[in-house]
Subunit: 159 residues, 2 copies
């Protein structure tokens, strides 16, 4: 079954780019899928234009870079302003991700990077000044990411 017009080739492309966006060439995917490299290039271009792939980025280990305080700040926003505040939070220096959740009090989760307590104090203050109430603040011990297996053709069966 294809979702939203995504066929197996699209899914394979997404899966490969999710796994390694920089060292995977169109030709490699093309060989594995038995199509030409330009077909893969056309598909990638389409996926980017449709916004299905919204970007590519390097995963950085902040601790190794000397930023010991990779931290999750959980905030509460008034629902009508949630989206606006989430976007504003992204502009605060040190903020690397903002997740808006639908329900509950703690509806904006902000991931931030800091080198010391002063950084965190400033970020907390900045968020507060925007109108985000800081409900909780926790050091992130570890973060693991993985490509979504739903796009992996070799892993279709899910109980």
């Amino acid at each position: 079954m294809t979702l939203e017009g995504l066929d197996e080739l699209d899914k394979k492309i997404i899966h490969e780019l999710q796994t390694d966006a920089r060292h995977t060439s169109s030709g490699t995917i093309a060989d594995a899928a038995d199509v030409s490299a330009s077909t893969v290039r056309n598909r990638i271009q389409r996926l980017e234009q449709q916004g299905l792939i919204s970007g590519y980025h390097a995963d950085v280990e902040y601790e190794s870079a000397g930023y010991q305080l990779y931290t999750l700040i959980i905030c509460t926003a008034p629902v009508p302003r949630r989206e606006e505040l989430a976007e504003a939070a992204l502009e605060v220096p040190g903020v690397v991700r903002v997740t808006e959740v639908m329900t509950g009090e703690e509806n904006v989760h902000v991931s931030v990077v800091g080198a010391d307590g002063d950084d965190l104090s400033r970020i907390g203050r900045d968020l507060d000044e925007l109108g985000l109430e800081v409900a909780d603040e926790d050091l992130i011990r570890n973060e693991h990411v993985d490509a979504f297996d739903g796009f992996d053709a070799d892993c279709e069966d899910r109980s």
Copy 2:
């Protein structure tokens, strides 16, 4: 000031790769930094080997791909088993990110992708069977990511 031996060139490289890991060539960075392309390539290789850059991946808009249920599942793990369970959770089909937080009851945050309620039920059951107690479950309305500005040479001043 350089952190952990990272100089301005390293930081610039990381920033560029965080912004667009696929369409940024060594040559482009080299021109902007007034060094040779080979130097940039050597640095990138070093950053990858040191584990400072741990990977590159495509950002996928799951909703556009037909997976309407991009969801945050907040779990509680016994502290001694937290890391082990977090890694195990990553293997559950549909799980795309696991964040371990240091303190508090809700110390494992799991981001999952599902097409329907059945997917979510299964994922919840799988996490539970691992030994992760599901404390809360929330639809993710939106997720914004941004490159860390601490690596951006044009943005060093932070109040």
